[in-house]
Every structure is written in structure tokens, then in C-alpha cells.
Symmetry: C2
Subunit: 306 residues, 2 copies
């Protein structure tokens, strides 16, 4: 069985980079974008521009555009639809509700503060973790088809539920955006001297809000509950004695973790347990999925607790 075709809706930084990565791997990719400039740039990279998409259809549009992303497109009735949105419960409730078992939510943990088709990079996904949702009604063969696309782009696949995903990214992505904004706004309040002295630690701490604030707003507001909870946990940390807090934060930021291969049965509970343990399905799986669906995943990996 050949790998299914891939259709990418939205050819900005994420969608354009995914299309470029797959084209670079010799795979036929179709795509569409409402912006003619993005369509032309993708066409120049070898993407077939069309509104008729089939196989694995990837919605790579900003969150506010997600619910209407398929309007005016002709999607094959048996297509599997996935997305790259940075929150998963709202997309599951909008796009997922309409598509039922054909929808598999996804979120590659990459991208930069840049956006649009001029920020396309075929290497964007190399080594990145790509969260892929396994809900109770997700059809496993469709999940595997999307996983294969993520692996083909160079990413590793982390099996999650939408709820687990949204809680996790609140802590490691959405709260960092709010902290960065608060840090920058407070520094501006401190005055021009403070901003003139701002160097490495300030630039690192605020880089993430160089992103389009409309995108960031949609992200944190689309995940308001988990983000508020994660922010409260950061504020609780800030009440600890500084010496203790700094030692713990240093240990987390500099931890070195080995990895070891494990054998995980290809079923939902086991895959989700792999994700919860910090593990991921690695690229070596791809050949199996493209050919047939094996009983076990032979070489996914989890962090070594030793």
C-alpha cells in the first residue's frame, strides 16, 4: 500500500514547511491557501495547488480560521483530516464534531515567532515532538496515517488526549507567552534606562511574544482554563524561597535524559501511557505504517528513568 496523498490547507510557516518537507522527501503534496502569494510560493516549491484534496488533509490555518478552513474546498469523503492548531479541545469540538472519527487532532511543537509563507523551512519539523490526539472514538488506522505523515516530516509522535495536550501546553507554551508579555510590559514601566540595559536574559525571556499577538491571544483564550491553572502554579512557585526555587528550576532546565527503545502494543491505552511517560513514537516506525499496520510498535522510545 503506497503512502496516502497529503493535502495541506494553509501554506504559511507551518503548512508551507510541512508541504516542503514532504516534497523534499519525494512525496506528492497538494495544497491550498486563500492568499495567492502563499499559493505561488508553494507551487514554486513543487506543491500541486488545488481545492480538491484527499488522503491525509492537514488544516494548517490559524485557530480563528479553523472552523471554516474546509469551506469552499472539495475534500474526498474518506479523507482523514488533521490540524496543526496549538490547542486541541476547541478544534475537537468544532472541526472534530463535524467530521467524527475522520478527525485526528495534531500539534507539532515547533514554529518560530515568524509567520507566513516567507518563514517556510523544510527542516522545521526535524526532531520536533508532534502531539497527536487519540480520543476514545479516534479510528486507530487514521491516527497511524497521520502519524506516518508527521514522521515523514522528521518529527516524533507523542500520543495524547486533547485534554492532556491542552493541560501540558498551558504549562510549557501558553504560560511562557503570558510571562514574557508581563515581563516586557513591566520593563517598559520601569523606563528607558531599564530597556536600554536589557540584554540576553530579557531577550530570551521575551522572544516568544514577537509572534503575532492575534495568534497568541487565540491560543491562550482558546485554552483559558488550563492556562489560568498553570499560571497559578507558576505564581505558587514564586512564593517559595528564592534559593530553593532557583536550584529546582536549574535542575529542570539542565536535566539530561537518556532514551531507550520500548515495545508498545498498537492500542490506545498503551500509546497514551507511552505519551504520559514522556515517550514518543520515532521515525523508525514509518516504514511499517506505510506498508501495513503491525501488531506492536517495535521501536518507539521513552525517556530512561535511570
Amino acid at each position: 500500500m503506497p503512502a496516502p496523498p497529503v493535502g495541506v490547507v494553509g501554506l504559511g510557516q507551518l503548512g508551507g514547511s510541512l508541504a516542503a518537507a514532504l516534497v523534499a522527501g519525494g512525496r506528492p503534496v497538494q495544497g491550498w491557501d486563500v492568499d495567492p502569494g502563499a499559493r505561488d510560493a508553494a507551487a514554486a516549491r513543487g506543491v500541486q495547488i488545488t481545492r480538491e484534496l484527499s488522503g491525509v488533509v492537514v488544516l494548517a490555518v490559524p485557530l480563528p480560521a479553523m472552523a471554516g478552513a474546509l469551506d469552499d474546498l472539495a475534500i474526498a469523503p474518506d479523507a482523514t483530516v488533521t490540524d496543526l492548531g496549538s490547542v486541541k479541545r476547541p478544534v475537537l469540538e468544532s472541526v472534530g464534531r463535524a467530521l467524527g472519527g475522520r478527525y485526528v487532532g495534531g500539534h507539532p511543537m515547533c514554529g518560530t515567532e515568524r509567520s507566513g509563507h516567507t518563514a517556510v523551512d523544510p527542516g522545521l519539523f526535524a526532531g520536533a515532538r508532534w502531539a497527536l490526539c487519540l480520543e476514545p472514538d479516534t479510528e486507530l488506522p487514521r491516527w497511524l496515517r497521520v502519524a506516518e505523515v508527521a514522521l515523514a516530516a522528521g518529527a516524533e509522535v507523542v500520543p495524547v488526549t486533547a485534554e492532556e495536550h491542552d493541560d501540558a501546553v498551558a504549562a510549557i507554551s501558553h504560560v511562557p507567552h503570558l510571562l514574557a508579555a508581563a515581563l516586557a510590559a513591566a520593563a517598559a514601566e520601569a523606563g528607558p534606562l531599564a530597556l536600554a540595559l536589557a540584554a540576553g536574559s530579557f531577550r530570551d525571556g521575551t522572544r516568544v511574544i514577537g509572534s503575532d499577538p492575534a495568534f497568541v491571544r487565540a491560543m491562550v483564550e482558546g485554552n483559558a482554563g488550563p492556562t489560568a491553572g498553570a499560571l497559578a502554579r507558576v505564581q505558587e512557585q514564586l512564593t517559595r524561597p528564592w534559593a530553593e526555587l532557583l536550584a529546582d528550576g536549574h535542575a529542570v532546565a539542565t536535566r539530561q535524559q537518556g532514551r531507550r527503545p520500548v515495545r508498545v502494543p498498537l492500542e490506545r491505552a498503551a500509546l497514551l501511557a507511552l505519551g504520559r511517560s514522556g515517550g514518543a513514537v520515532t521515525r523508525r516506525l514509518a516504514a511499517f505504517v506505510a506498508g501495513h499496520i503491525p501488531e506492536d510498535i517495535p521501536d518507539d522510545e521513552v525517556p530512561d528513568p535511570a
Copy 2:
């Protein structure tokens, strides 16, 4: 009048890089470090290793070692002593009290999460802002001598008081360290899945606490009052509506500010006003200081408010 000799006490990342930058500019540099490895590395770069230092003596040791940095060294009686410590009031009260008008506090806004003589980089100061303290009793000719050294290393000099400096760095350096630690510790609390999904925004937001936690602790505890105040201002920002906060933070993080040359009389109040406005004394001043002290600084620069 030739540029005065420079003696560097502590040849780790900052001191070793300063010595290397000056040597690269053809200037004789003396230096000392309690660690024979650091001495050997500096000697190999052309630093004359000696305990007898004169001219501008730069204390480039960690904050806890600052008060005893001159023990066992022979410092010329007319030497000007400066330091590179990341807080200025405590050093002013310890080193400064003993030295009186011969002490000029300094703090170059550079350095990385690495430390030690293996992290030496002669380009470390290129383009960096270097805060230099002008207290009521600071002797201006000594301040200018230290400024000339900072400029010779490639930095720009920001005139400040120790108090202004400590308030400013609380907002743009010390609080970012605490936020990074709290972010990392809270993410670890969220579990292995969250850490496995951690990508760019988390790495940027926590990079700064890769630094030795003992150094970071000395820094924030040595500036506890201003840091607590700046942290409270960040927490106040975090109570704002997210959309507003993100828009403001984005505007600060992405601001583009032009610069224009201004003429500033060489006297304390005018220099401090330059610093407060976000301005800096730039390298073009160096030739004047090495030769003679001009009445006006002709080409320092302030940000263009337009």
C-alpha cells in the same frame, strides 16, 4: 597621554573575555586568578600574569568573592578600581567603602549561561551596554578612564547611579531568572508529558537558569528589595486582561528605536540624564578620553523618540 594599563582580577568568562578583547586591540593587560588553569589560559592569550596591578583594575570575580578580591594582591595606590558585578549597591558598600573615590562600579550587560575560562570570547562585549556608576563622590576622570576601557572592549557606556542600576536590572535581568525558574519548576510539576512537549518558547523562557544557581542566588539575594518590587510589578501585569497584556508585551518586545547623536556636557547630572533617557556613550568617544578630557562628549547617543 597613553591609555592606562589594565589589570583584570578573575579570568573567567567575563574577566578573561575582557582581557582577550583588550589584548586583541593591542593593549597590554595584566591579570590574576586564584585558579591556575584560568591563569594558564589567559597567559596563552597574551595576558601578563602577576599579582601587582595598576592603572584600571577590574574585579571580575563572582559577587560572593568581591569583598576579598584584592586580598593577596598588590594594587598601585593611585589605581582606579572597577568591577563587573551584576548588582552595584552591595559592591559600592563593600569594595567602594574601602576605596572611596578610587572605586567606580560597573556592570557589562553580557555573558551567557556558561562560565569559567573555557567560555572566554573576545567578542563578548561587542555592542553590549556597560552600566558605569557615577555616584556623588565618583571622581569624573576615574569614571572616564574606566569608560575608555569599556569602549575599547567594544561596549557602549550607560551612565547610572548604583541605585538606578539595581532597580533597572531587577526588572530586566533578576526577575527573568526567577520567572524562568518558576516556569521550569511548574512544568516539572505538570509531569513528563509536559516536559516532553516543551519546545522553543519553553527553552527560551528557561535558558537563563542554565547558569550556575549559586551565582544567580547571589545576584537576586544581593538585590532583594528591587527584585521583589519588580516581581510584584510583573505579577500586577499578570492580573490584566490577557488580550491587553499580550498586545502591550508584543509592542515592547518588537519596538524599533532609532538613535541620534547628542552633545552632552561632561558632568555628572548631564551624563546621568543621558543614561535615564535610554542613551549611551559610544565608542567614538574613546580617542578623546585616551588623549585628553574634552569639555563636551561630542557623539554619545540617545534613542530617537520619533
